[in-house]
């Protein structure tokens, strides 16, 4: 794949993930505000999240969107402000993306399982 094509796809991926994040963040905040109206304990939260397929699907997508969006943005920041570019940067960013997916899904597993 040519460099131009890779860059174009990264651009599309970042815009698409931003759109997904817009919806995810709004739903996440609205749910929190609704759920904690009368106070909420950890036990009550777990009672609602454990075994919830809807929760797993929603936050699974949320984590993926973050893992796509944040590393691409960070890559641009590193390129512009630290002058870091090339294969080492791309490898570092890919590792960061995998780390975000792993940590995010691990946390989700704690709520679901």
């Amino acid at each position: 794949m040519s460099r131009a094509r890779v860059e174009a796809w990264l651009f599309v991926a970042q815009r698409a993930s931003a759109a997904a994040l817009g919806v995810c963040v709004a739903v996440h905040l609205a749910t929190i505000v609704y759920a904690v109206r009368g106070g909420l304990t950890a036990a009550e939260i777990l009672a609602r999240t454990q075994g919830s397929v809807a929760l797993a699907l929603f936050y699974g997508v949320f984590v993926l969107a973050v893992a796509i969006h944040a590393p691409i943005g960070l890559r641009a920041i590193f390129r512009e402000h630290l002058g870091w570019r090339g294969a080492a940067l791309d490898a570092g960013i890919a590792i960061f993306a995998v780390l975000l997916v792993w940590l995010g899904w691990r946390a989700l597993g704690g709520l679901f399982g």
Binding site: S2, R3, A4, R5, A8, L10, F11, V12, A76, H81
Partner: protein, 242 residues
């Protein structure tokens, strides 16, 4: 203070290359005086070693742009009276290497113009008929909106992304690419699209809109770049990027 004398302007002018400093001059204030008039007075009457650049003096050639009181401007159409009563500070354009005094090296600016394939490329075989370009077509309207660029590099000097990212092609080169991508006669669309989809191309723009704010021709390169971003995204999804 010299700058407070009635009828004179205190002018601080950058002298030297990257490691130079400011020299101070006192220039008589005149009616309808432009910043370029001030610089020319200094060079003709006070210090003939001052280096600067200009050609047409009427806002057509784009060669007299400098940093005036911290902002990039075309000096031939910038009236001193409209800049307030304070002293004038003149430097070469930012984001470009300095050659001497007020003359910046525009080679990187035009190299990037070439890198963005900012030139009309006719089809390999000439067509028997003239191309029809309806004046009210969407493509023609889009090209019209950006076509009056005079290549003064004011947008490039004003651009944060150009300051941060040495690979960034810059607003003028991308604006030119946009006008050509909307030219139905041009034959280099796929190659140009690949050139502007690269890391320093349209996707590097953060839409700060400094180019739009500073363009002396009131063009909107940010809108042109946004058009290129849409074009690149659609081409990526369609698998049309080389």
């Amino acid at each position: 203070m010299r700058g407070m004398e009635p009828g004179t302007i205190s002018v601080r002018v950058w002298r030297g290359r990257e490691d130079g400093g400011f020299a101070e001059y006192s220039v008589p204030r005149r009616a309808s005086q432009t910043v370029l008039d001030v610089v020319t007075f200094i060079q003709r009457k006070l210090d003939p070693t001052l280096a600067y650049r200009y050609a047409c003096r009427v806002g057509m050639c784009g060669s007299c742009a400098m940093t005036v009181n911290g902002r990039p401007r075309w000096t031939c159409r910038t009236h001193v009276a409209k800049l307030g009563a304070g002293p004038l500070t003149l430097e070469p354009l930012a984001n470009l290497p300095r050659i001497k005094d007020l003359a910046a090296d525009l080679a990187p600016f035009f190299d990037k113009w070439a890198q963005a394939l900012g030139r009309f490329v006719p089809p390999a075989e000439s067509k028997a008929e003239f191309a029809e370009v309806p004046p009210d077509s969407k493509a023609r309207q889009a090209a019209d909106a950006g076509i009056e660029c005079i290549g003064c590099a004011v947008c490039y000097a004003a651009c944060d992304t150009a300051a941060w990212n040495p690979d960034y092609l810059g607003p003028a080169a991308l604006n030119r690419a946009w006008t050509l991508m909307n030219d139905v006669r041009d034959a280099a669309g796929p190659a140009r699209l690949a050139a502007i989809a690269e890391a320093g191309g349209c996707s590097a723009c953060h839409s700060h809109q400094s180019c739009r704010e500073h363009c002396p021709k009131n063009l909107n390169p940010t809108a042109s770049i946004a058009g290129l971003k849409r074009m690149v995204a659609k081409a990526a999804l369609a698998g049309d990027i080389e």
